[in-house]
Assembly symmetry: C3
Homo-oligomer: 423 residues x 3
């Protein structure tokens, strides 16, 4: 998998909601996922309430001080330039410059991440410790960027299954050098896509790598009807790489199959997780769960966006996100997918309890405690009413649904259960 | 408003379930509410399971002791006479008198309030401290009252709105000189009617000033079908004048629009309130919520009847009820009415999140925390599914529904929301 | 009733899932319940997934030690022989014998209860204190038993009522000398049947005395359709004789009339009871609640099977079960039956509150607190909406449903309530 290595390779690219940074990122992912297709949506295209903006390019940027000293340089860290800055080449006094500077007084050593996508503006982001020592004098601000008609780029990978019912996995590729709140998502998405591709699967998978917000809206505006018709569950991948916490963002509905699956898996694999309210939403569940879209999409994260001090700063880096943190997220998402793949509505087709001892599934000697060894099997039979799915039964009988899948298939082979499709 | 002044003026009148005390009270209210109409229902009229009784009049009453000393006098306090006492003029020994005396051993300085509406009887109420010092001897009991065919009187005020859907406000005018458990209700009802009359309103309001129990039953027996067809919410005004507590009596159903509105407002304006069970009911919600009537009627009170030591005694007076206590109740009932007036089923008519920055409703610079300033608006949009009303959305997103009304209208003007009628 | 005496008489019989022990037991019960019918189901009969096994007979059994000393004798305690042991007459070394011995290291003084119904096997059960002192040498194992075609025997008693809606009472008669986890059930069932037979009853009662599991399955396979059509509630009687605890095993559904009735009665008469999950089930609710059978059957017990140290050992004896323990279970089951018999959907047919004082049901003098005396009656009237049954109303208003039955009938006589059948 080597998720962390992939992340390291993607790290230096200056991504934004449009531009070559996005294309370069997607092309690197395409090396791993050859069937990934890149789509270009021209500037000016109307997407629901939004319009694809001009494409942004940047080659270099530098802020020079009164003595000619280089204060910040885009080449050192792409966070130094306000994302989507318009081109500038001006000499300004410190007072004139200040409205274009951004820093964090509470975290004086870090560089904040600032954007101005939809209003022409320019600026530099720098450590507060540097900013507060700036002396009056002439400063030179140079940003070699352009904002011109072009297109918005996104990546799409459809992995077909036996049915056209779909599972959506969506992540974003629009932030520059940040690790948890950007790259952890696409690298986990890539690893999951590789794994799903290797599965003998029931469902079709729609993997999306889109610029956050505008990209999700743009994609939905082109695919809403089919996604509404087909999607049984979906997950937004974001902030999945640190080791500090587990977090759950439910869908707006809160009780969809995706939510039930996520809660079931989290309860078993990360019981210490925090469940947030949809009121604390912040990524593309905002679009997928919006009224009239109403897709069953939730999000299982490590440290949730907006809750950790590194968020949207230069501290959200390749050390904050670890190989272990990514691997644990990968493991948990695999269990959610296995649960969804195996989920069904089991129905016991024998009246009364089946005679398990005839099938070698129960000790023949009746002693105190002898029934315990087959308890999971008997409980699954007892609750298989044809109306409850495996996730629900697993919750009731206290067994992981992804383990129950095997038991259910064994009992179906024995003609004790009939497994009806759940969707 | 001057609610406390109005109460002071109404204070000395000896009200009962029938008689001139009721008429005098209603005529004083009519000075403030010219459209208030008085209705007379003749003695003997059948009302559901009840019959309008004879009308009671009383001019004076006095109990004189063995030495000719005046022990209690109706002119001092109309609680001294058992309400609905039949006429009497007798000389009795102390032993003969005792069954006709009522006092409170636990509150020896107070005069209790006692009634005998439906069985002919007579009696005097006096402080236990006086009663226990009575010496043997001849007592003279004189009550100059009459019980003769007449009528039951009630007041009704219909304030028409744009729709014929109605809000019911009911209070009672049948207790003699008591302040919280009588006059606080009609004076608040009067103030609310004046205010509602000044509103550009959607709904029709039915204000009722009726004798408790028999009056509500009598009114229902004449108006049940239309009230069942039109009433969306109703409130009984009782015990709304002290400053000691906030109390909520739900409807029997417990989850009507009236209940949801009351709980929503109480949670914000009086979070320390006590919610009682319908098992502790005691005023006209007993009739409005009875099986087959089933109106959505609840009651927001200060100190609930039967729970405060002054209840049904001479201590329930003009000092126990304060101008501030009444004003706070007025404020809270206004918010309930505003909430009902503005309630609707908002539906977001844009797919995906609207682009708020284009409408000047969101900062153009994306920085950590910048989204917070428009959170209420974005939450309202996110939850406007066309199925949840503003009261429900306000509960979900933690914002007062009466404030959301304005936000919803602003978003409707921007063609982001469609506001469907909730009833 | 003399339940404990009946139990003492049944104690020595060696019952099993088939055989003369069952017949002898049922014939003793038939002395008390002349209408009890015995049914024989031949060996080889298919019952759902099961087949009636060969019938087991045993006349004597003995294990003799190397010195000719008698180690265990069936005549001393029928638990000494593994139930359903095939005949044997062999001399074995201690090593050869060990796999045929059963004891409890943790309870070295007790004899465990072991069965091998569905695989031919033989064995002896003995105190671990005896077993661990066995010396090498030649042992002689003699079991004079037979396993031959015969039949499975069960008892059925139908007590007809005014309607064909049924209440099921099921208990088992297949364990040898054990008291709580066997005989307490049939003796309580017998006492309840005698009492039900003396009642002027609405419902038909189906009392079943069956071998556990195979007997219930066998009975269901012959009567499923009618039981599904008629049964409104049912109870499995098991472990109802000790004084140590109260336990509740809900049905799988958990909210049937039987469950609601049991919870309502337990809450009032045994508020300290433990409610178990259906996951801890263990008696014939396993069959009655299986998918496709789905009967409304639960179980009110004293100490639940599998939870007490005496369970399935020689300590589950006539001292562990007491006359008082049985009597208290009898009392509680009577209240459940009374509740079911009197349950109905009361509907108030008067609009508004009825005028109770006209009917002598309310004090005519209105004083603080005077309404309390008739509160239960007024609450029943207030909640009689024709949709809630007495069990539900009793829960709501905090009054025992079996007491409410009387109040409801009184109010029906007064033409205040109409009592609609609940089933």
């Amino acid at each position: 998998m080597a998720m962390h290595e992939l992340m390291t390779r993607l790290w230096p690219i200056c991504r934004s909601i449009t531009g070559d940074g996005v294309r370069e990122t997607l092309n690197i992912l395409k090396e791993r996922l050859p069937e990934l297709t890149l789509h270009e949506v021209p500037t000016g295209t109307k997407c629901f309430d939004w319009t694809v903006p001009n494409e942004w390019s940047i080659s270099s940027a530098c802020l020079t001080g009164p003595d000619g000293e280089k204060l910040v340089d885009f080449d050192d860290n792409n966070l130094h330039v306000v994302n989507y800055s318009s081109p500038v080449d001006r000499t300004l006094s410190l007072d004139e410059l200040q409205p274009h500077l951004h820093s964090l007084p509470d975290q004086p050593g870090t560089v904040p991440y600032v954007t101005s996508y939809y209003k022409e503006n320019w600026g530099f982001c720098l450590p507060h410790s540097v900013r507060k020592n700036l002396r009056p004098g002439d400063y030179r601000a140079v940003i070699n960027s352009s904002l011109t008609p072009g297109s918005l780029t996104y990546g799409e990978l459809i992995l077909e299954g036996r049915t056209d019912k779909e599972i959506l996995i969506s992540t974003y590729i629009c932030h520059p050098s940040m690790a948890n709140n950007e790259l952890s998502g696409p690298v986990l998405g890539t690893a999951l896509a590789e794994w799903v591709n290797s599965l003998d699967r029931n469902f079709t998978y729609r993997f999306l790598f889109v610029p956050e917000t505008i990209g999700a809206i743009c994609y939905l505006s082109r695919h809403l009807d089919e996604m509404r018709a087909k999607t049984i569950a979906g997950f937004v991948l974001t902030c999945v790489g640190d080791e500090r916490a587990w977090s759950f963002m439910p869908s707006r509905n809160g009780e969809t199959l995706a939510d039930r699956t996520a809660r079931h898996v989290l309860k078993r694999l990360a019981p210490e997780h925090t469940e947030y309210s949809f009121l604390q939403r912040g990524s593309d569940e905002r679009q997928y769960c919006s009224p009239g879209v109403d897709l069953p999409v939730c999000s299982v994260m490590r440290s949730k966006y907006m809750t950790f001090p590194e968020y949207h700063t230069s501290l959200d880096n390749l050390e904050f996100v670890t190989a272990q943190g990514l691997a644990d997220s990968y493991f948990l998402h695999q269990r959610m997918i296995e649960t969804l793949e195996g989920n069904c509505l089991p129905k016991t087709i024998i009246l009364g309890e089946p005679k398990m001892s005839d099938r070698g599934l129960r000790p023949t000697l009746g002693k105190r405690g002898s029934a315990l060894s087959t308890m999971t099997m008997m409980n699954l039979i007892a609750y298989s009413d044809g109306l409850s799915d495996l996730v629900s039964i697993g919750e009731t009988i206290g067994v992981s649904a992804w383990d129950l899948v095997q038991t259910a298939r064994q009992l179906a082979d024995l003609e004790i259960l009939e497994l009806k499709p759940a969707y």
